[in-house]
């Protein structure tokens, strides 16, 4: 098994006719994902290497049975596109777009929260890879194989680094989920760790956090109460100076709140082992699962 995307995923890509949208939609298709349609207003009736393009999500859902949306449109159009996908009845929305205005994210989040059947991943995230089944987003899939480690991360390239360290030790992944580092992420560590807990294939959960916000602290509380599987943590930003922005939404320390040490301590207090480097995360995984 895996979480969120798999062989049942029928993907519709918003922004499929854009340069990046085309490139990554085709990459996802080549990986084996069912990319059934795309949406670009005004380009309905065209196709991208055989993938039909529609003017609206509603048409795409009606014609192609899309159940998952990937949002690849520029920031000023992204909130609208997410809301359109939800309105068209799509249950899983993965927003890759970076730089969406925070107030837009707030409105989208608040609206979607009142529609409990919808799951938003991102924005500003690399997407989700379920090795051997489906890839939705921009994760370089060739580095990962099927396995029993579920990975959830706020950062894209750091996810690859940790995933690669695990792969080099022979571990594969049930799913790799990038939740993004934005002010108002659609899904949190808690949401994804909960899914991994219920996923029979996942035997170990790796969560990769970073400074800023309180998502890791909330995850620590959740793990203590609801998670029986082993969890290994990583936090980036131990040496980030207080009060310096680090260019990633959410990655900033203000006072003692949101600091790496406090996050690591919160996790360790609940029995989560925290690696100080990506390599150490893999070392701990070996100790837990056996090499």
């Amino acid at each position: 098994m895996s979480v969120i995307v798999d062989r049942q995923t029928r993907l519709c890509v918003s922004g499929i006719t854009g340069r990046e949208g085309t490139f990554h939609a085709l990459n996802n298709l080549r990986y084996g994902t069912q990319v059934v349609s795309g949406v670009t207003p005004g380009k309905g009736g065209q196709d991208v290497e055989g993938i039909p393009v529609f003017n609206t999500f509603h048409d795409a859902v009606a014609e192609t049975g899309a159940n998952t949306a990937m949002i690849f449109v520029p920031p000023r159009f992204a909130a609208d596109s997410i809301l359109e996908a939800q309105d068209a009845g799509i249950a899983t929305i993965i927003a890759v777009t970076e730089g969406i205005p925070a107030h837009d994210e707030l409105k989208v989040y608040t609206h979607l929260k009142r529609n409990p059947n919808v799951r938003l991943i991102g924005p500003n995230c690399p997407g989700i890879l379920s090795p051997g089944k489906a890839s939705v987003g921009i994760i370089p899939a060739s580095f990962f194989k099927e396995g029993n480690v579920g990975v959830v991360s706020r950062s894209g390239t750091l996810t690859y680094q940790i995933g690669n360290e695990l792969a080099q030790r022979g571990f594969g992944n049930s799913s790799i989920v990038g939740i993004g580092g934005d002010p108002v992420p659609g899904s949190s560590f808690v949401d994804i760790i909960g899914l991994f807990q219920d996923d029979p294939e996942t035997e170990l959960i790796v969560m990769s956090g970073e400074i800023g916000g309180d998502a890791e602290e909330r995850a620590a509380e959740f793990i203590a109460e609801h998670v029986t599987k082993p969890v290994v943590g990583y936090i980036a930003g131990f040496t980030a100076p207080p009060g310096k922005t680090m260019g990633h939404a959410g990655a900033i320390v203000s006072g003692s709140q949101g600091g790496a040490v406090a996050k690591a301590e919160a996790l360790e207090a609940k029995g989560v082992r925290v690696g100080r480097t990506p390599t150490e995360v893999a070392d701990i995984a070996i100790e837990i699962l056996g090499g």
Partner: protein, 404 residues
């Protein structure tokens, strides 16, 4: 985007937001005025003569206020009340050029001094934890609000507003009654909060803070200060606000990086760092520190970097004279390692760096990237297979050790 983010007011721990732009007090007040919030009459000035002319026009007593993006300037002598022209000249001369917590005062705001009967505090912050705007109101405003927040948290009335419903009159009444606002002021304070919320939403702010919100002898409320932080990502909808960025106090390297669309933060050490993706770069800083080194900067070249971006990034890193060695840590996803290698080769061609480079390339097109570098035979460039090996090598090189 300013990079030093001061603690402010009681909501400080909620302000964990990079792409953001802090406004100067007077810019915030001009924004407030556009939304009908009462502010004292004032004029900006960048020279002593302009300041005196402004004070003469406004009339005395006049407040001479340093315009810097940091709190606590009043306690450090950055705000003075001039009773006449001579004092206006004296204070303007003293405050212009003053160093306030590392920021140099380049601008003054001259405004009519206000009569103050009471000092309140009001703010709205974008609360990422609760995922809703948080309104805070207190009747114990003024310079010691942080101390009040710590010692007497109940003196701060707090309330979240549903972003899809927005501010309603009852929000204002609840806050005003809970904060213990005088009965005759409940209505004006509520009206003030409604306008403040309007400013917060329509200007797409991450923070609007008024401290003090003064009560005048005529029993009206006036914003005597303004702290406004705007969301960088929304500036495309607010071209006027985008013009307000204050570059006068920015670090030269940080400004250079911004002009090149790179995310750069200067640090105190001597090892230049370049990576792709904020998380990986932060992790690289940690691994270098664990290996005993001190990073000179954070530089995120971003996703999908082309060769030109890499060349520009090398230029920014090396413009910091403290840098003794540079580490490239790339895990290519969208970013292609061959593009990174091409950018580095081009940088060597243009800049001819004298410090050693350690380069770790993994991910998309890594084989091609490593081959390009090997063929180029750049002087003083050392490949590394892993992030840890790269960190150890660059730390040794920065210490002046010779690698085998």
């Amino acid at each position: 985007m300013t990079c030093v983010r001061p603690r402010r007011g009681s909501g400080a721990h909620l302000l964990e937001w990079p792409p953001a732009m802090d406004l100067l007090e007077y810019q915030g007040k001009q924004l407030f005025a556009r939304h009908g919030i009462p502010v004292p009459n004032g004029l900006p000035a960048t020279t002593v003569d302009d300041a005196v002319a402004a004070a003469n026009q406004i009339g005395y007593p006049a407040a001479v206020k340093a315009q810097v993006q940091i709190g606590g300037r009043g306690k450090l002598g950055g705000i003075k009340i001039a009773q006449n022209e001579d004092e206006a000249r004296e204070y303007a001369a003293a405050i212009l050029g003053m160093d306030i917590k590392g920021l140099i005062v380049h601008e003054l705001w001259i405004e009519g001094a206000s009569q103050i009967e009471a000092e309140y505090y009001a703010s709205i912050v974008f609360d990422r934890g609760a995922k809703a705007p948080l309104l805070i109101l207190s009747t114990k405003g003024g310079m010691d609000i942080e101390q009040v927040a710590e010692e007497d948290p109940d003196a701060l009335a707090r309330l979240h507003v549903d972003p899809l419903i927005g501010f309603q009159d009852f929000h204002g009444r609840r806050l005003a009654f809970e904060a213990g606002v005088d009965a005759d002021l409940v209505r004006p304070v509520g009206a003030f909060l409604a306008k403040l919320y309007d400013t917060f939403v329509s200007e797409e702010a991450m923070l609007v803070e008024v401290n003090p919100l003064i009560v005048t002898p005529e029993r009206s409320v006036v914003a005597l200060d303004a702290k406004v932080t705007l969301d960088d990502n929304s500036l495309f909808r607010h071209p006027d606000n985008a013009q307000l960025r204050d570059l006068s106090n920015e670090d030269p390297q940080e400004r250079m990086a911004k002009e090149r669309d790179l995310i750069y933060v200067k640090l105190d050490g001597d090892i230049g760092i370049l990576g792709n993706g904020a998380g990986l770069v932060m992790s690289t800083l940690d691994v270098v520190a664990l290996a005993g080194g001190a990073p000179a900067n954070f530089l995120d070249a971003g996703g999908g970097s082309k060769a030109e971006a890499i060349t520009a990034a090398v230029e920014v890193i090396l413009s910091n004279p403290k840098v003794k060695a540079v580490l490239f840590n790339i895990f290519g996803g969208i970013t292609r390692c061959d593009e990174v290698a091409r950018g580095l080769i081009e940088a060597f061609d243009q800049i001819k760096p004298t410090v050693p480079f350690v380069v770790r390339l993994d991910g998309t097109n890594d084989v091609e990237g490593r081959e390009l570098l090997a063929e180029a035979e750049l002087p003083n460039v050392y490949p590394a297979k892993t992030m840890n090996e790269a960190a150890e090598k660059v730390v040794a090189l920065a210490r002046g050790e010779v690698l085998a």
